[in-house]
Subunit: 324 residues, 2 copies
C-alpha cells in the first residue's frame, strides 16, 4: 500500500476518503490542489501530509507560481501536525531551483520510509510474545512514506511471530481505523479485530490488551502528545489498568520549541463529520456539534516513545538528535 505517487509533473494521491469501497486516485497539479487534498483528508497522517505538501510546493515552483503564497496555503490546510510546516520549510529552503526542491522532497520521502523501518525495529523490544496490541486511527503505510509508525511496530511484531492480535479502534468521526487500518492489515494478512472507540477500556479492564501503540501529530519537548481525538481516552484507560502505552513517531514529529501541550493548536472540524456519513444522517442537521480533530495526552501517561532513533523512556526532555 502506497498512498502517494510522484509523476514528475503531478502528484497522485490515493483518495482515503473513499477507501475501502473504492481505490481512486486524485491528481494534484499545484500547491493549491495539494492543500485541498490535505484539508479534505484525501491524504492524512502527519508524515504523509508533510510529503504531500513538499511536492505541492515543487509543483508551484515548476510552474513559476508565488512560493510564499503556496507555502502559507499548504501550512494552513491542517494546523496540528508539525511535519507539514517543517516539510514546507525544508523544501522552500532548498529553492528556488525547482529541480533542487524536487530532490529535497524525494529525500524527505525516502528519509520517512527509513524512519518507519527504524521505528518498527525499535518497537519490537517492547512487544511480548503473543502480544495483543491496541492501536488507534491509522498510523500505517497510508499515513506515512513507508511502513507506518505504530503500525510499523505491529507489522514488525507480526513478522517476528510475536503478534497475537491487532485491535483497531474504529476512530470516530472519520473512521480511519475501520476504513483504513483494518483494511491495510487485512491486505497484509495480519490478524485484526475492529471495535468501537469506547469499547477499548472494557477490553483493557478484562486483561485483553498487552500494550497500546499510537502515533502522534506533534510531540512537545516535555513529551505531551497531540494525536487523533480519542488518544487521551485510551491513555487514561491504559494508565488505570496498568497497560503500557507507547507513542511511535519519527523525530520529525517532535516540536522542541513547544514545552507544554497546551500550546498546540487543535483543529476544530465541521459538524457534518459527526452528524452524517456519506449522506446517511445520524443526527439532525441543526444539532450543534463539538468536533475537535485531536486531543493532547500528557507526558506522564506515556510509558515510552518509540522513535526512529530508538526507544525513549521517561523522564522526557532530552531527545536524540535527528540523523544521530
Amino acid at each position: 500500500v502506497t498512498p502517494l505517487r510522484w509523476e514528475g509533473d503531478r502528484l497522485q494521491v490515493l483518495d482515503q476518503a473513499r477507501l475501502p469501497q473504492e481505490e481512486a486516485w486524485r491528481e494534484c497539479r499545484s500547491g493549491a490542489d495539494a492543500a485541498a487534498a490535505i484539508a479534505e483528508m484525501a491524504v492524512r497522517g502527519a508524515p504523509a501530509i508533510g510529503i504531500t505538501a513538499a511536492f505541492g510546493l515543487v509543483l508551484d515552483a515548476r510552474a513559476g507560481r508565488d512560493l510564499a503564497a503556496a507555502a502559507s496555503g499548504l501550512c494552513a490546510a491542517r494546523p496540528t501536525a508539525v511535519n507539514l510546516a517543517a516539510a514546507v520549510q525544508r523544501v522552500l529552503d532548498a529553492g528556488p531551483d525547482p529541480a533542487a526542491m524536487e530532490r529535497e522532497a524525494l529525500a524527505l520521502w525516502e528519509e520517512d520510509r527509513r524512519s518507519c523501518t527504524a521505528i518498527g525495529r525499535a518497537g519490537l523490544e517492547r512487544v511480548p510474545k503473543g502480544a495483543r496490541i491496541l492501536t488507534h486511527c491509522n498510523t500505517g503505510a497510508l499515513a506515512t512514506g513507508g511502513d507506518g509508525t505504530a503500525l510499523a511496530v505491529i507489522r514488525e511484531a507480526h513478522r517476528a511471530g510475536k503478534l497475537g492480535m491487532a485491535y483497531c479502534t474504529e476512530t470516530r468521526p472519520w473512521l480511519q481505523g475501520a476504513r483504513l487500518t483494518a483494511w491495510e492489515l487485512g491486505r497484509d494478512g495480519i490478524p485484526r479485530t475492529l471495535l468501537v472507540d469506547s469499547a477499548a477500556a472494557s477490553l483493557m479492564k478484562a486483561g485483553g490488551i498487552d500494550l497500546v501503540g499510537v502515533g502522534a501529530d506533534r510531540v512537545t519537548r516535555c513529551g505531551d502528545v497531540a494525536n487523533k481525538i480519542g488518544t487521551l481516552t485510551l491513555a487514561l484507560a491504559a494508565h488505570a489498568y496498568g497497560v503500557p502505552f507507547y507513542v511511535a513517531l519519527p523525530l520529525t514529529t517532535l516540536d522542541l520549541e513547544l514545552h507544554s501541550g497546551d500550546a498546540i493548536p487543535i483543529e476544530q472540524r465541521g459538524g457534518d463529520e459527526v452528524r452524517a456519513w456519506r449522506g446517511v444522517r445520524f443526527g439532525e442537521p441543526d444539532t450543534p456539534v463539538y468536533n475537535p480533530a485531536f486531543d493532547v495526552t500528557p507526558a506522564h501517561l506515556v510509558t515510552a516513545f518509540i522513535t526512529d532513533a530508538g526507544v525513549v523512556p521517561p523522564p522526557y526532555g532530552s531527545w536524540p538528535s535527528r540523523g544521530a
Copy 2:
C-alpha cells in the same frame, strides 16, 4: 415523546432503529413480537424494555399461549438489563388472569413514570448553576416510561434554570446519543451539543464539563454499574479530571442478588453494527469485530447514585427499599 402505546389488544412501539429520520410505529400482537422488538432494539433502555416485555406477556395471556415459553423468550431477548426479567416475573406472578396481568403491567408503567419524576427531582441538588452536563446513550423518555433517568435530571435542571449545556456523546455503535438524545432534547428546546464518544475526555480535561450523568442497565449490591458500552471510559476520564460522575436509576434497576459486577452477563452483538450503518459500509464485511453492548463501571468511580428514593452516596451496600 412516548415510545410505547398500549391499545388493549396490541402494543405499539415507536421504532427507535428508524429515528430520527422516520417516526414509524411497530405493532406487537404477541410476546414473540415484543421479544423481537426488544432484540432488534426497536425499543431499548432498561425500563422501557421491561414495560414492553410486561405487555408482551399480557398479549400471550390473552391469546391463551404458553406463558412459560413466552417469559423465557422475552427474558432471552436481551440479557444484561435486570428490569426485563423482573418485569416479566412480576406480571407472571399476577397471572394467570389476563385482566390482572394487564393491570400489573399498567401499574409497572405508572410506577416507572413516577420514578422518573422522582429521579429528576432528587438529582437537582447535585446540579450547580449553569451546569454543563455530559450524558451518554439515551436515558430519556424514549428509554423509560416517563421523563427518563439521567435525562430526567437534565430536564429538571433545565426547568429550574440551572442547565448551561447538555453534551450528548453519539454512543457508538448504535448512535443512541446522536439519533435519540439530541433529537429528544431538541424537541423539548433544551440546549444540547453532540460529540463523538472519544472527545469527552478532552472536554473534561479542558474544564468544560461540570458533571457526568448516565443511566444503568443493572447495578449490583456493592454499586458496580452495567451500562451502555463507553460508560467505563467516561467514568475513568471523570475520575482523572475530578468531574463528579453520577448514575441515575430507579431502584428496580438494582440487582441485590449480585455482589460484584463481574457476574453481570454482558451481551455481545453482531459485527455489522460496527462495520456498517443502514447499508453504508465503514469496514469490509470480513473484518472480525468485538462488539460488547455494555461495560461494567466499578463502584469506586461513582460519586453517587441518583435514585427514585433520593441520592445515595458511598459507601454502597445498603440501599433504600423499594416503595420506601
